[in-house]
Amino acid sequence: MLLSVRDLSTSFFTENGIIKAVEEVSYDLDEGETLGIVGESGCGKTVSALSIMRLIPFPPGKIVKGEVIFEGRDLLKLSEDEMCDIRGNQIAMIFQEPMTSLNPVLTIGYQVMEPLMLHKGMGRKAAQGDCIELLKDVQIPDAKARAGAYPHEFSGGMRQRAMIAMGLSCNPKLIIADEPTTALDVTIQAELLELMKDLTRGIGTALIIITHNLGVVARYADKVIVMYAGRIIEKALTMDIYRKPRHPYTIGLMESVPRLDQDIKQKLLSIEGQPPDLACLPSGCAFHPRCRYVTDKCSQVTPELREVSDNHEVACWIGD
C-alpha cells in the first residue's frame, strides 16, 4: 500500500460559517495504480488532493481529522520541513492551469531544475543536463534551446508538458494531477494524458487524476472515486462503475455523457438542480434534493459507504 487516506475531513472556517469541503474521505492506492477522482466543480476533489499535500491555506482552511498514511508515515503528523522534503520529491502535483502555474519571470529550464536542486542535491550543471533530458521526455522539441525560454513564450500545451516534466523530475512515488487537461484543447488533452500515462508507467509511479471528464477516467484510471458535496458517494473499479453504476448521481453523470452507441434521437439527460452550497448542506444524503429515487429516509440519515459487491462501495439507501 502506497497511500492510505483515512477519514480525511477538511473544513474552511469562514465568516459565513464552517464549510465542510471534504468529509470523511477514505481510499487506498497501490504502487503504480491510477485513481480517478470525479465530481462536479466544488465537490471537494481539489481540496482532498491539497489536503494530502498539506497545502490547505490556514486560515481559513484546516484539516480537522483523519490520517494520510504515505509509505507507513502519517503525513498529517509530519513537521513542515519534513513535508517540504516529500512535496515535489515523493509526491508531485500537476496543476490545472498551465497558464498560471508557471512563474512568469523564471525560465522553463530553471523551474524544471528547481526540484532536482532542492531534493536531489544536484548542482546547477548536473540539473541542467537532467532538465534537458526531462524536457525531451515530455516531447518538447529543441529542448536545449527551449529550456531558456520564459513561460509566455510557450503555448498552453507546451507549458503543461513543462509542468509534467517538473512533476516527474524527482521520480516521485505519487503524482496528483488536478484537472491536468481542462485548460487545453481536446486534441492536446489526449496526447498529454497518453504521455503522462506512459511516463508514469515507466517509473512505476502511482497517479491520482482529478477530473470531471468521465472519458479521461474510463481510459486511464484503474479505479474511480465519485465525490459529491465533499463526500465519497461511490468507489469502484473503473470497469465496474461504467458497467453498473450504483449511485443515482453516478448514473446521472453517465447519462449526461453522449455515447456513440445510443440512439440518435435519444435526448442527452442532465441532472436537475445545482450542487448544494457547502455551507448549508441538505440534511441526510446531500444529493437527495436532486435524486430521482428519493425516499423519506434519504432526507433524515446520511448513508455510509457500504460494499455492494467486490471492490464496489456505494453511499446510498437504495437497494437496502
Binding site: 486560515p59 520541513d81 516529500i86 512535496r87 520529491n89 496543476f95 502555474s101 508557471l102 523564471l106 528547481e114
Partner: protein
C-alpha cells in the same frame, strides 16, 4: 477598435526580438522625457566618476587674492568665499551628493524589501505588526527626524546615509508588501509550495523577481527624493563638512553671497534640480516601460 490598431502598430517587431528586457529598453528609448533623464544621469555619473580629469583645478586649492569673483577665463564659474574654483567644487560635489543618494537608497531598498517581503508573505499578525511600525516611521516629519539623528550622530556622510535609510525604507516596505500580497495568491506560488520549496525560497526565488519592477521604479524615484533630503540637511549645515564639497553644502555657503555672486548658489542649486528631475523622469519612463497597462495607454495617446 483601438486595440486592433495597437496590435497592428506593434506588428513589425519580429517575435524573436521581443524579449522582455528588449521591450523595456525599446519603450524607454521611445519615452523622450525618460530618455533625457537617462542621458542627464549618465552625464552626472560620468562627472562624479571622472571628477579628477574633468575638474580644471584642485577643488581645495585656495586663491585668497581672487575670492567671490564672477566667471573668468581661469575660473569658468567664478570662485567661492575662499577663492576655490567653483566649477571644480561643483564637479567634485557630485561625488558626495550622488554617493550619499545612492548608498542611502541602496540600504533603504534592501531593508525595506526584506521587511515588505516578510510582511506580505507571512500576512496576519506579523503583517499587522510590521505595517504599524512602518506607519509610525512614516508619521514622523522627515526633516525633523533627520536633524535629530544627524545631530545625535554628528554631521557627516555616515550619519546622513543612516538617517535617510531610517526614513525611506518605509516606501519600499509598503510597495513590496502590497505587491507580494497580490502575487502570493497566484497559482504558481502554490505550485512552488507543491514542489517542496521552503518559505524562504519562495520569498526570494519566486516572489522577489516578480516584484522587481515596482522596486526598480521606487528606487529611481527614491534616489531623487533622497538627494533632495541630503541637500536639505546639508543646506542646514549638518551634511558633509568642509572642505569636502557637496551640492547642498555649496548651496548653503553660496546663499550668503547671493547678491554678490549669484552663480555661487545657483550652480549647485541647478545641479540638484537637474539630478532630482532626471531621476523622476527616469522613474516615470520606467513605470511606463515596466507596466504593460500604462504602456498601452501611452501608445494610444500618441
Amino acid at each position: 477598435m483601438n486595440k486592433d490598431k495597437l496590435s497592428i502598430g506593434q506588428g513589425p517587431c519580429l517575435p524573436e526580438q521581443r524579449t522582455r528586457t528588449h521591450e523595456v529598453f525599446r519603450s524607454l528609448a521611445k519615452h523622450r522625457v525618460a530618455f533625457a533623464g537617462i542621458l542627464i544621469l549618465l552625464f552626472l555619473t560620468a562627472m562624479a566618476v571622472f571628477a579628477p580629469f574633468l575638474a580644471p583645478c584642485d577643488p581645495n586649492e585656495q586663491d585668497l587674492y581672487h575670492v567671490l569673483e564672477g566667471p573668468t577665463a581661469q575660473h569658468l564659474l567664478g570662485t567661492d568665499d575662499v577663492g576655490r574654483d567653483l566649477l571644480s567644487r561643483v564637479i567634485y560635489g557630485s561625488r558626495a551628493t550622488l554617493m550619499m543618494g545612492a548608498l542611502s537608497t541602496l540600504f533603504s531598498a534592501v531593508i525595506g524589501v526584506l521587511i515588505g517581503l516578510v510582511a506580505g508573505y507571512k500576512g496576519g499578525v506579523v503583517d499587522m505588526a510590521i505595517m504599524r511600525i512602518t506607519d509610525t516611521f512614516m508619521c514622523v516629519p522627515a526633516l525633523v527626524l533627520m536633524l535629530v539623528i544627524v545631530s545625535a550622530l554628528g554631521p557627516g556622510m555616515q550619519s546622513i546615509v543612516i538617517s535617510i535609510t531610517i526614513l525611506s525604507w518605509t516606501w519600499f516596505a509598503r510597495i513590496v508588501r502590497g505587491q507580494v500580497m497580490l502575487v502570493r495568491e497566484l497559482p504558481y506560488v502554490e505550485a512552488a509550495h507543491a514542489l517542496g520549496a521552503s518559505g524562504l525560497r519562495i520569498m526570494f526565488k519566486h516572489l522577489l523577481p516578480n516584484v522587481m519592477a515596482p522596486i526598480i521604479i521606487t528606487a529611481t524615484i527614491a534616489l531623487g527624493g533622497n538627494i533632495m533630503l541630503e541637500s536639505a540637511v546639508s543646506f542646514l549645515g549638518l551634511g558633509v563638512q568642509q572642505p569636502t564639497s557637496s551640492w547642498g553644502n555649496e548651496l548653503r555657503i553660496g546663499y550668503s553671497y547671493l547678491e554678490i555672486v549669484p552663480l555661487f548658489s545657483l550652480a549647485p542649486g541647478l545641479m540638484i534640480t537637474l539630478a532630482v528631475l532626471a531621476f523622476n523622469f527616469m522613474g516615470d519612463g520606467l513605470r511606463d516601460a515596466l507596466d504593460p497597462r500604462l504602456r498601452q495607454n501611452n501608445t494610444f495617446m500618441k
